[in-house]
């Protein structure tokens, strides 16, 4: 499925294929709606936001680089930025990673390292294998946008415990992503 979504997104980017966009819509719209509802939207608002996210996918598809990200990661980013805009007090505009990458000497710490393409299936398996306490904090961060402090209050655990569970989860999940550091 991951490979199919990449090819649909590329067809939208390169050929403006409405047929492939329809397939992306069918696969992602109901999940984007679910994502927005978990972030606190009612069904009607979530429906609108899922539509808006996919409208942005259509408009910005030419920026998608399959060597850098899976289609789901890229679409997730669109949805995440939209949910930040709508639900959180934070309005600061995210750094646009693609724009940054285009400027060759932008950073002090530039090495000749490409971001390894992730193995979606493997990430999926590793998420399923997370211990429950790590999965819980990951879900609270990703699906409800809770900050570390808010997670601590929600689960009645110390801030240090929240951070260490997130670190452990991230470490485990990135085993598949070719992290060399």
């Amino acid at each position: 499925m991951a490979e199919k979504t990449v090819s649909w997104l590329l067809a939208v980017a390169n050929k403006r294929s409405r047929e492939d966009f329809a397939k992306l819509y069918e696969h992602f719209a109901p999940r984007l709606k679910a994502y927005m509802m978990r972030n606190g939207a009612d069904a009607a608002t979530a429906d609108d936001l899922a539509q808006e996210a996919l409208a942005q996918v259509w408009r910005k598809a030419d920026r998608y680089d399959p060597s850098k990200a899976a289609a789901s990661s890229w679409i997730f980013r669109v949805a995440r930025n939209l949910q930040i805009d709508k639900f959180r007090k934070k309005k600061f505009q995210e750094v646009d990673l693609e724009a940054v990458a285009e400027r060759p000497d932008v950073g002090i710490d530039s090495h000749d390292r490409s971001i390894a393409r992730i193995d979606s299936q493997r990430v999926h398996e590793l998420i399923q294998s997370l211990p429950q306490d790590q999965l819980d904090v990951v879900h609270l961060a990703f699906f409800q946008g809770l900050t570390h402090t808010e997670i601590g209050i929600h689960l009645d655990i110390p801030l240090g415990t929240v951070k260490s569970r997130l670190r452990l989860a991230f470490n485990r999940l990135r085993q598949t992503i070719g992290d060399q550091s």
């Binding site: 819509y25 990430v123 402090t149």
Partner: protein, 212 residues
């Protein structure tokens, strides 16, 4: 150019990727990311995790006729250019050392600050500090988190030496005393989500005056 030695904590990056950091912290993280490829890679990994979480959510049915409505919306808006909302604060100016929009106020001798009032940061704040060479930030701890990004100059404290691009990502357990240690001022961007607590009698007298 020196390399970056001090990076963002994994828990901060994962939450940033999830869209779960407050505005003040997000601003400092975004500014550091413009300088640090290693952290940008980890940010991309966090988004990959987000992508998989999204893809595995149980779907919720969309309202009928959704795709047609979407085409109508896309085709209508194609006629009008999309308004691009400007970011509240441009990190690039800070990275370039352009402080023309910064209004410095002296905090205590040796330390000037500018508070970014527009940025929301729970009970804390986002500030730009300019610390004169040899000045010590009074000994302090913080309930909650603190992110300090060095823009120019450097300081050292109990943890190590921090130079341009380095970021100190600290949680509430840390009590530290940074000292600016080069010939030029140390300019750094600091976000906190709680009020800072300064120890020592003199500092407790100063604290209400300087309002940190």
């Amino acid at each position: 150019m020196n390399s970056i030695h001090h990076h963002l904590d994994d828990s901060t990056l994962l939450s940033y990727g999830a869209g779960a950091l407050n505005e003040g912290f997000s601003f400092v993280v975004a500014t550091h990311l413009q300088m640090c490829e290693q952290c940008r890679e980890r940010q991309a990994q966090a988004e990959a995790i987000g992508g998989e979480l999204l893809a595995s959510l149980p779907p919720v049915q969309m309202a009928a006729g959704g795709l047609n409505a979407l085409w109508a919306k896309i085709d209508n808006s194609a006629a009008q250019p999309q308004a691009i909302s400007k970011p509240k604060i441009n990190p690039q100016a800070l990275l370039d050392g352009d402080y023309s929009d910064i209004r410095w106020r002296t905090l205590v001798p040796g330390i000037k600050q500018h508070i970014f009032d527009d940025l929301e940061s729970d009970s804390g704040s986002v500030r730009l500090f300019s610390i004169a060479p040899g000045t010590t930030i009074p000994h302090h701890s913080h309930g909650g988190g603190e992110l300090t990004l060095i823009l120019s100059g450097s300081y050292h404290d109990e943890i190590g030496r921090f130079q341009r691009g380095d970021i100190a990502d600290l949680d509430d357990a840390i009590s530290h005393q940074p000292i600016a240690d080069t010939a030029e001022p140390c300019v750094c961007l600091i976000a906190t989500d709680q009020k800072l607590r300064f120890s020592g009698v003199i500092n407790r007298v100063l604290q209400p005056l300087i309002g940190i």
